[in-house]
Structures are given as structure tokens and as C-alpha cells.
Subunit: 438 residues, 4 copies
């Protein structure tokens, strides 16, 4: 990497998350000298990008760091010379997410932004775009690392792994960092001291070991978790707890997204109620965003506003900055990212993307060997990976058949008949963003 400092290109730069990212770079500037930050967006997002870009400029100026903010509506202008590219775009914006959630609910099933019918359509919209971005990276800045925040991170990253020969894409998510924080809280130790083994895919990971200062405390933690002491701090979606025997038999700690599977009926009931009241989560998120942009416009604002932390996804920027930091500074620490399996687990293909503990050096992430998934969770992870692999194939080839098969294999979809119905309804709603199915 260049001695004169780092160049970063953020695609989807007009996102409400950007101020967090900017703050992250400012705080780390002493050892992570970002000199250029290019915020790139599409024409349709010009208004937001200008608001966010101006805020970013004010933040940098106030902090007095030597970091230049560039705004661009043409990624090919921005990419040359980039050291890192981050992607946080949302194809179809929040309106598309609202449809992803509401349409499945209208047919009596969970939309689920990652692995349900809604998540599938997010993948179908996003994958062709990300593959185009990778093509540009390979041409214009082939040594840059791509950090993909865009959900569903596993499928998006796996599409790159399977359909390009670009080897520097890393998916990342704030969920693992959140697990670490929750475990630290529960164990009453500083989160820097906590590490873990996780097994699974993005938004579908289980913690299978937890360490404090490198020493396993998993058995104690499991006992504590089982004894329900854990539940106060392990906030789950809608606050539903797992039964002791389930966790004991599982021998692992599920993540919050597992609620959709292991509390399927309760989640469905709750979301149907929200749906009937017109209040799905995507709508809530949209309202928060509108409010944030109002704040961002304020020319006196020159720091990240507190309200952003309520937005959800709060630690995303931390995850990204830490990953960039460890690569740039060759830290050799452990982070939890989405990377091609490459033998980490013997029962998945090498090109399947998993979320797993990696050593991060200048050479990128190197996964710690797992060998085989724990037998108690192997089936569920394999099931979700089959779903993901079919969706990736459908996204690239435009095969309705692969998409329908993926839906049928997913426990959140109640039947073949409804799989066909929900697919058709979502396809119609999103047709503008799905040229491969035209």
C-alpha cells in the first residue's frame, strides 16, 4: 500500500451510515492514515450523497485530520488507485425492503431480510450489481480489498467467490461483534478480552466456543446461559428466550436471527400483527432515516449524531474500520468475517462462503480450521447453505426454477404453492431491478 496514505472508495456513500464510517477513520487516523475517501452513489441518490458528503467534510475539518472527501456519481472515476472499496448500497432503496417484508407477510409468511423470500429478492437485486462492481475493480484497482457490508452478505460474497476470479472480497456484518459484546457483558469482562469460535453462515451463526484471554469459558457460559442468567443481556428479537434443554442439547449458542426458525410461529404471529397495523420494521427504519437526514442537513453539525446509534447496525462501521486497520497494519488479530470456505469445513465446497473466525493480516483473512461442523448444528447450516447457493445461481442465471426450489427448501416458506405465489408477487414488485428475469 502506498506510503502517502490510504485511498478508500465507498459505494453507496450516500447511506445514513456514512458518518459513522467517517468518524471511524478520524478516530484511527494516527495509525490508519486515510488520505482520500471517495463517496460514490448513483444519480438517483444525489440529494442524500450531497447531504452526507457535506457532513463528512465538516467532520473532517473539525477533527483537523488530513483526509480529503470526494463525491462522485461514477465509480469508474473513483476506483483507480483505491486500496479498499466498501459497498453499502441498497439496490431499490428502503422502499424495496418494505416490499420484501410486506409482500411475504401478505401471503402469510415471514419475509426475513436475509434468508426468507425477502432476503432472496434482496440477493437477486444486489448480486448482478456487485458482480459489475467487481469487474470494474479487477480492471481499475485489482489489488484493492473489497469489504462488502451489503446484505445478504453471505450470498453476495459467495456470488463473487463462485462467479469471478477476484480473491480479495470479504463480507462483514456487525452480528459477530454484537455477540462478542453480549458475551463480554455477561461475563463482566472487557470485550477486547473475549474471542469465540463461530460456525455457520451470515445471520445464521452459532457460537460454539467462547474465550476470555484465550482460555475457553464455554462450559461456564453455557451453564449461565442455560440458567437464564444470560437472557437479560442477550437481547433477542422480540425478547423471546430459548429453552434450557434446547441450548443444552445444541451445545452451542444461536444468534438472534435464529429466532425466525426456532420461534417461527411466534415471530410470524408478531410480524403479522405489525403488518396488519402497517408497521413493519423496514418502515420504522425508513422513518429513522428520514429523521437522520434532517439532522445531517444542519450546517452546524460536524460530528456523528447520537441518533445514528439507534439505527441498528450500529457496529458496522467499527467492524469495517477494524478490518481495514488489521489488513493495513498487518495486525494478525482474530475477526469474524464472510470468506470462501477453502477447506475450513470439510463438508462444504471450497467456494461456499461461511462466517468464521479469521486471522487478519496484510494477506487478508485466513480462517482457523474447524474440520466439521458440530453434529448438532450441521444439518441446519447445510440447509441454509443449500438455500443460499441456489439463490446465488438464480441471481446470476435468472432461473425461476432455481429460485422456486430455494424457496421450497426453506423452512420459512409454508408450501410449494405459496413459494410460487410469493415469487411471482415479489418479481412483479421488483421487476425494474431484476433484468435477469425479464
Amino acid at each position: 500500500m502506498k506510503k502517502q496514505g490510504i485511498k478508500i472508495v465507498t459505494i453507496g456513500g450516500g447511506s445514513s451510515y456514512t458518518p459513522e464510517l467517517v468518524e471511524g477513520f478520524i478516530l484511527r487516523h494516527a495509525h490508519l492514515p486515510v488520505r482520500e475517501l471517495w463517496l460514490v452513489d448513483i444519480e438517483a441518490g444525489r440529494e442524500k450523497l450531497e447531504i452526507v458528503g457535506n457532513l463528512a467534510k465538516r467532520m473532517v475539518e473539525k477533527a483537523g485530520v488530513d483526509m480529503k472527501i470526494h463525491l462522485s456519481y461514477d465509480r469508474r472515476e473513483a476506483l483507480p488507485g483505491a486500496d479498499f472499496v466498501t459497498t453499502q448500497m441498497r439496490v431499490g432503496l428502503l422502499d424495496a425492503r418494505i416490499k420484501d417484508e410486506r409482500i411475504p407477510l401478505s401471503l402469510g409468511m415471514l419475509g426475513q431480510e436475509t434468508n426468507g423470500a425477502g432476503g432472496m429478492f434482496k440477493a437477486l437485486r444486489t448480486i448482478p450489481v456487485i458482480l459489475d462492481i467487481v469487474k470494474d475493480i479487477q480492471e481499475l484497482c485489482p489489488n484493492a480489498w473489497l469489504l462488502n457490508f451489503t446484505n445478504p452478505a453471505a450470498m453476495v460474497t459467495e456470488a463473487i467467490s463462485r462467479y469471478t476470479d477476484y480473491k480479495r472480497a470479504i463480507g462483514l456484518c456487525n452480528l459477530p461483534v454484537g455477540l462478542i459484546a453480549a458475551f463480554a457483558n455477561l461475563l463482566e469482562v472487557d470485550s477486547e478480552r473475549v474471542s469465540m469460535e463461530i460456525q455457520g453462515s451470515n445471520h445464521f451463526v452459532y457460537a460454539t466456543d467462547v474465550f476470555v484471554d484465550g482460555e475457553s469459558v464455554f462450559d461456564e457460559m453455557m451453564n449461565q446461559y442455560i440458567a437464564n442468567e444470560a437472557n437479560e443481556t442477550m437481547t433477542n428479537i422480540h425478547g423471546i428466550e430459548f429453552s434450557s434443554d434446547f441450548i443444552r442439547g445444541l451445545g452451542a449458542i444461536p444468534c438472534s436471527y435464529h429466532n425466525y426458525y426456532y420461534h417461527h410461529s411466534e415471530q410470524l404471529e408478531a410480524q403479522l400483527k405489525e403488518y396488519e397495523e402497517g408497521a413493519v420494521r423496514a418502515q420504522f427504519v425508513k422513518d429513522v432515516e428520514d429523521e437522520l437526514f434532517e439532522l445531517y442537513k444542519d450546517e452546524n453539525l460536524a460530528v456523528k449524531p447520537k441518533q445514528l446509534e439507534l439505527r441498528g447496525g450500529a457496529l458496522y462501521s467499527d467492524a469495517a474500520c477494524n478490518l481495514i486497520d488489521s489488513i493495513y497494519n498487518n495486525k494478525g488479530d482474530i475477526q469474524y468475517v464472510d470468506v470462501p470456505n477453502n477447506g475450513t469445513v470439510s463438508s462444504l465446497p471450497n467456494d461456499a462462503v461461511i462466517e468464521t473466525a479469521c486471522i487478519i493480516t496484510k494477506n487478508g483473512p485466513k480462517p482457523i480450521a474447524i474440520g466439521e461442523f458440530n453434529p448438532e448444528i450441521n444439518g441446519q447450516i447445510q440447509m441454509i447453505k443449500t438455500f443460499e447457493r441456489l439463490v446465488v445461481e438464480a441471481a446470476v442465471t435468472g432461473s425461476r426454477a432455481k429460485a422456486i426450489t430455494a424457496l421450497n427448501l426453506n423452512p420459512l416458506i409454508p408450501s410449494d404453492d405459496l413459494a410460487n405465489k410469493v415469487f411471482d408477487a415479489l418479481l412483479e414488485a421488483h421487476l425494474d431491478y431484476l433484468p435477469q428475469f425479464a
Copy 2:
């Protein structure tokens, strides 16, 4: 095997199926000289065994074959010298199956006799008994082959594979033979000419290739199946058809039990309706059985009555007789049975039992290599195997935790909360047969 003829011991000999088995041996007597058939049952089944046993004796006498029928209430008396042992007992009888179906439905979920909560309890009741039988076989007739008909066949056979060192257990089911028959019908050829590749576990297999005279006709068949021409003859449970795109994307033909998964909502609705009307399938089966035993009592009856064919499981006896025939006569033909994986599929442990195409010789079944499950179905099969493995462990160790975890991982169970509830309700109902959970 002894020159003087074959000795067979049938545990659960009082079953209504027995006349079919007897007929099978009579028809094959020229090349499969069964000289002794021991029908063994427990004291509680004495009445039925006597009825069935007497019918069997009349059948043999009428056919004029040299086969001696013995009735016994002590398997240790029967086993010495046995060449083949068949198990077709039903721990807790049909009353238990009625509970297996009704109790889950009372909580709003499918019981599903193989892989649902009901099937789990059938496994929990049966596995300790089968392990005891194997212990006796290993002591009294260690070279005998055990043919297990008792459902859930995959779990029962896997319990033997994992918890004993007896290597001569084979699970078998009439479903694959039924698939062959349906394919033959569809292709308008004699079923002897049809063979197939299947992937999966008992009651959860997919046909992934179909051959006529050894030549693959799969692509044509799939097209025909997709074009719906297949559906008339491929009778599915409740007659629901799969969508063309699902089958096309799957690249494989599901079996009838897959209706419980891919038509989950419709199946549930239909069975809840039956439940409310007091008419679950187990009750229907029981009524048919009662009727059959009335027929069997008729001292003028000396052949298998036609009505038995309506009973379901019609081809079981054929499956068993053919397997015994091929082992005894070292036929080297292909049959579809439940055996330890032993590397047939690389992503499952060696001791996991799969249902697969095997060459049958005097040395028993040898599976044809598969390598890896097709990527489109890998996840579902892995999921069901994880369920099965946990249930087997729960059955042997009496671990409520493993049982609850198994239920949670099963797509038929709507939530952790209901998993706990249905377990407790079924445990209470079946406690007499579940000493390991006492």
C-alpha cells in the same frame, strides 16, 4: 448357510403383514427353500399370533411346501440357528401410533410417523428394544442377517450401526419399490427393467437418476414429470402435485413423504381437519387391521386375502423376500436398502444410515458410490440426518435435551416452546415404553 434349508425368525410375527411374508416364501420356495419359519411375539400379542400363525400353517399346507411354522413367545428360544431375522414389531401397538399422530395435532403440528414428533417417539420406544434383540442375535445366531422393517427404519438401523458392533443389520422399506413401480408405469415398461439412483434417508429420498435396462432415461422422465403427465400415476399423499419449476430446479424427484415438507401448510390443514373429525390415519389403519384379523380367523382361509393389499405397505413383504433371495442366492442385483454410509457419500459420517442403491450378494448389500449429494438436495438431507442422529442419541441415552434440540431443528415443529410442550405430552402418554426417560 445350511444345505438343509433356511431358518427364518420373524419378531412381531403376530402382525397383520405376516400372511404376505408367508405367501412370499411359498412362491419362492423352489429356489429359496425356507424350512423353518418362527413367528415370535410378546405375551400381550398371543391372540393375534395364534390367529396369524394358524393361517400361516393352513397356507403352507395348502401350498404343499416343506416349510414348518413355529410360534414362540420367547425370542431366545427361536433365534439359535437362524439365517435371517426379520423385525416388524410395533412397540405399544397401533394405540401408540394413534397418540403419535393425535397429540402433535392437538398442539397444531403434524405428527408425521417418521420424522416428526410422532416419528421421534416411535424411535424412542423402538430403539431400546431393537438393541436388546441385536444383543440376543449376537449371542445366539451371530451370522444371521437382520432385516428391519420397523419404522422409522433409518433411525432404528442407525442405532444398531452406532451403538453395536453387529454388521449384518439392513433396514428396508417399500417406498423405493413403490417408486420403481410408479416409474415403470409412467414409462410403460416392466418394472424389472427399471432401476434408479436415490439419495437421502428412509422416507426422505429423492430419485436422482432412472434407468431402463441400465440406460438413463432421467432427462425424458423429468420432462414428462414436469409436464404433469407423470402425476396421474405418481400418486402423492392427498394427491397434491409439485410445481414444475420446483422439480426442474431440484433436478430430482421427491418422494411422497416430502409432501409433509413441501406442502407443509396444506398437509397440516388437511390433517387438522381429519383430527377434528376424529379420523387420523392411524385410526383408519387400526380399523383395517381389526377387519383383517376377523378374516384371518376363518378356518377356511388358506391364502393371503386380497384385502391385505389395501393395508398400505403392500410391497414390504416383496422387498423382504427379494432381499433374502438375493443374499441367499448371491444374485448381485440392485436393491434399495438402509445401510451405514461407509463413504458412499463423503459429507456424512461412516456410521450414518442412508437409503441407497446397493448390490446384493451373499456378503450383504454393497452401496454404489455417490460421492456427494446433489447440491440442490444436500441441505435437506443433512438436516433430516441431523434430526435422526439426535433422536437416536436421545433414544439410547434418555437425554431430554437431545430430543428437544432434535425437535427444534425439524421444520415441522413450529417453535421451541411447542417443541417442549409436544415432548412432554408425548412422554407422558408413552411413559410405560420409555424407561430410559424415567
Copy 3:
């Protein structure tokens, strides 16, 4: 396959083996109606082809079967409409083999026609030719089965598996049939009753189980073999026997080619002596061939002469005829052929070719699952497969580096220095046949 009878094309038709093949087809004509046999050779082999072709015609005429013999010097003329293609050509003729043996011996190492430096060069000469033949088959008779006799059979077949998408190539060798015959002899039973499990690669297979009428007799056989009773009938090269403890510890029966590895020093000494006396095996074979062709010229000869059986490779034609028979007649019997691994053994890639027990039907050979090589022999087989894979790559790409590495990894090659020397000497000797290294 066509109702009007089978068309077979034999490339390298001028081989001295051809009369055996013709005899094989004559004997099986009732159920294997070969109507056309095309014997194809290159211009340089015109004299031999005419001699052999005329003998073939006389044999057919004498037998009175309806089989037409065609001679051709252009395989593209012969291939259209072929049902089976057999390849038995020898690129560079026996003169090349003499060099393959003599040049390594001149440098103090075994040439070894399959896996040593000599075998490597046979592969380097043959693989480009076979890939051209496959290209023609794919164009002119894509549904034909290719039966490759040409040594080294594993490498030649693996080249097709890895560098083409043609799926109907089968390698075959008379060694497994010879093992069966030896076991039958030892066990004093008819060889039809004997079958086995083998593990390994061509000319490097171990028998890991032996059955009579499908029942394993391996333990008895091993004891007998260990007790040296086996050795009289198990003729080994130069008659050297393996020690009892070696066989006992191995838990498997090596093949005659293993002498080169496990009796390395004795084999080397013996061959060096032969070499100094000017009498390598290839020279002996050449003398026999010359004699045979003299016989073949005799216009009164209309049957396969007895002397051919002394030629070595006596059962090759039987192996080929049986394989064709089982495919054509969909026999479903077990034969031992060279096919892509496709998961038969989990620790080798799918495209690696192994020699293994297969069920033979109209759909071709389907391997019986092995799972993992026995731990006692895994290392040796992996070692030879690494050698073979590197040689295949060298043959296709013309990489001297891959060839040198292959030689270095081979236990028959004494050192890196000699690996380089023997490669250069053989390359110079065979340069006309190795355009890829030019």
C-alpha cells in the same frame, strides 16, 4: 444401440493382440452380435495391419459368423456410427518401449513400463494422441464407449477425465482378471464364483477383500497366503515372495507390479543384469511379436494361434469382450476397470482415475463405494496418484518442471540429479513423438 448389430472400431488394429479380440467376438457372437469390426492403424503399420486383417477375415469366415472386417488408415473414416472404440496402439512401437526400459537402466534405475521413468514417457507419447482420438469420437460418434487398453491405462484414462468432457472412456487391464484367476486357482473354485474388492490405481492395486459366491473368504485366504501356500500359484515377477509379516501388517494382497517397489533392490539388480546381457523384457516381447507375425502370415491359419497366449497380456481381449458384453447386454455384473473416482474414495479428487470394482450396465461402469482407502495402503496409493497426476499435466502442457517433479516423487528414481538426467536422455530418444516438449 442399433438393432442391426454392433459396430466396433479398434485403433491400433495391427497389434498382435487383434486375433484374440476377433476370437472373443466370434465366441460371443450369439448374444453379442458384432456386425462390423474396423481395424484402424497408421500408414507406418500398414504391413502389420494387412497381415492381421487378413487373418481376422479368415477367422471370421471359418467361424461362419456374420461379422464384416474393415481395414482403414484413417480413423475419421472408421468412427461414424461406432458403438465401441477400443484403443490398443503403441505410439513409437516396441522400439520406443525398448528405449523406455534401456535408458533408465543405463543410468542405474528401473524403467518400469507403467510408473517409472519409462512409463512416464509412454504416457507423454500417448496422451496427446488419445486426446485427439477423443476429439474425433466426440465429433463423429459421441455415444460410443471408448475402451482404452493402451498403457499406462490409469494416466491415459485420467487425461481424458481431466482434459475433456467426454464421459464414456473406460480404462482396462488384464491384471485384475489375472488376480481373480490366481485366487480361484488358490481356492480351488471356478473363477466365475470369485469376486474381490481392489483399491488403487492401474498396475498398483491391492486386493482388500475376496469373495466366493459373494461371501468373503478374505481372512482364510490371507492366512493361506501368509502361510506361503499361496505362492506357488500367485506367480510373481521373477518369482520373489513377500514376507508373511509384510502381508499380515498390510492386511491386503499386493499385485505383481508392487515387486518393483517392495523388492526394489532385487528387481533392479536382476534387470541390470538383463540389461548388461542385452536382454530386456521389451526386446523379448519384440522377438515374440516378430514370430507371431510370421505365423499370422500363414494363409492356412484361420484361428488364433496358441503362441499368442505366451505373449503376456493374455486376458486383455477377454477383459474387453466381457466389458462390451456387459454394457451391450446390460448385465449388471462386477468388473474391475479404470474410471474417474467420483467420490468412490473421499480423499482423491473426483476426476482422478482409479482401478476399482464396478457394476457394469448399459449406463457404463458404476463403482461400488469404498469410502477411504485402508489406512495401511493409503499413503502408497496417494503417492502413485500424485505421480500420475503430475505426468498427465506434463503430457498435456509440455511442462518439463512437472515431469521432473513427478520423477522426484517416485521411489524408483534415486535422486533429483538422476531425474534430470533420465528425463533428458529419454526426451532426446523420443523427441519425434513429443511435440509438446519441442
Copy 4:
């Protein structure tokens, strides 16, 4: 670990290496507070232990650190409370090693202290002793980490992995550290900045990637190595270089022990010459040792004498101290140690010990995933692991058959006949130390 400082027990404490270990602990005392160092040896080694022990005491006193040296002739007295146990004993002393080298040479083959006939007998002598030590550790200090220096490290560590349930044994060797040093020298960077990927087993590893500051420099290094620039600094045994094409085709850098395989004939010739001159390496080592003990006796000596560095194995103590340091201080750095595979490589069993890059934390070493061995080296590594696994089994069970089979599979052993001869000669020579073969 205890707040009051670390307790270390060194079995084979009378070794000439001990002063290096003591120096290592003195130098690291600030952050690695070793409070007790127990040097344990057998009665026969009393004289040496006293000499070394007194030197150690003088060294500690001179350095002024708070570390107590204890001498003991009963490991059960020493073990309670130990945090780390290191094993560096030599069963049969250097006299045994002289036999390990001379006897095979007398029969015309390399003894090879690790993987040849000599190394096999070192394993046969050592493994029963190490298993006894582990039994004591499990009883007296079950949470202690065992660092095994004793050669052959792979086999000794694998014996623990396969035949005990103790999970805290780590094998280690100075060879990887030596590779790092050589690479650093070649690249002209500080060795702290260099890391690598290695594949293989102890004394049989290949470097498959090399990093400076985490960034791969492998391609440049390979080119430099191939261009022979590397050879001056990559000192190989007897200074023989590998050919460029061999290395290019291998795509990996062999280690010095590979000379025994890839320069087999030259190594054998050179050692036979030494043997005839009565000067095998073990004899040389013994002379150096005698000299060292003379030096150690000097009561004025209170530091590690320079001459020890000539001894060979110079960096062993560094390797050990660094490993203890990283475990104690939870460093999370990468070290190269011998650990059970546990899925690091999918084609080896989980309990097979490999030498591989691991992250070292308080929880011990965690291997970085490899997936599959590079195809060019897979065969050789599998071959050596098969040898090692058979030797381990022979050592535990006393099976002559397994030992003979292991020798036969080893490329250094010229024939089955000589395998039997060398085994018998070595067995007779070492019988006192091989009760399992009595």
C-alpha cells in the same frame, strides 16, 4: 495459571540442551515469570543431571532472577502443580542413536533418525515411555501443557493423540524456526517480519507460502530460490541443491530432511562412506556432548557456553520458550507446531498429527485451515503419514507385522527382505528398551 509464577518440569533434564532452556527463561523472566524449574532425569543420568543442574543454578544466581532450580529422579514427585512439562529425554541415550544409524548402514540403507529404520526404532523406544508420562500428567497435573521435543516428534505426539484422551500435548521442532530464519536471511528482512504456510509432518514439511509483514512474497522467493540465489543461505544437509525444474514443478520449498528422499542415492553414498570411516553423525554428536559436559563442570561457568550453539538443534529452546510465552501471555501469534489435524487438512484423519501454522493463545494452538494439501506434494505427505501411523501402532501394540509393513512402505528401505533383516538386527540391539516386542 497461578499468580505466583510458573512451574516448569523438564523430563530429560540432564540433557546438554538444558542450559539453553535456562537461558531462555532468564531472558524472558520479566514477562514470563518462571518460579520453579524442575529438572528430572533417571538414575542412570544422575551424573549428567548434577552437572547440568549445578550450571543452571549458577546461571540463575548470576542473572539474579527469582527462579528455583530443583533436581529430581522421580517425575511423580516433580509433576504436581506443573504448568508446563517439557520432554527432551532420549531413551537409550546417544549410544542407541549410534546403533540406529550404524545398523541400517551396515545393511546398505540410510538409518535416518526420523523416518527411516533408525527413526522407527527411536519411536518404538520412546512412545511407551511418553505414554507413561502422559498417564502421570493426567493424574498429577491434568491442566499442564506438555511440550514434546523428543524425536520423532510427529510420531510421539500422534501416539498421545491416538492412544490417550489428553488434549494438551504439543510437539515442536526447530526446523520451522530455521526455515523462517533462512527465508529472512534470503529476503534480507528481520525474521520477526516473516511468516509462512507449511504443509506436512515433522521433518517432512514443505513451505507453500511465505509472507513478509503478512503479505505474500512467495512468487518472488520461488523465483529467487529457483535462480539458485537462495542456495547459499538455505544450507542443506551435505550442501546438495535441488534442481530448478523440480522446485518449479513442486511449487513449494522442501526442507533439509527431504534430501534423504530427493537425493537418496547421494545421501546414501555419503553416509556409507562415513560409516566405513567409522564416523556417523551420532558419533560426532556424542563427541560434542562429552566436550560440552566437560565445559559445564567448570564451576566458574555461569552462562550458556557458545559451543552449545554448534550442537545442532540450536533453536529448540527458543521454540519452546516462545511457545510457553505465547500460551502464558495469550499472545495470539503464529507458531509452527505438531498438533492433531482436526480437520485442518480434509484428507487426513482428525487424530493424525501434522506440523502446521497455528495461532497460539492461552487455549493452546489453533491451526489455520489448509483444506487440501497442494496436489504436487499430497502423495509424499500421505506416504510418510502412513509410515508414521503404522509405526505408532507397532510401538503401542508390539506388532512386528505393522513394523515390517511400515518399513516396506518407506522409500528409504530397498526391499521387503532387507526390511525384515534391518528390523531383526535393530530389535536385537535395542531389546532392553522394547519390552512390547518381547
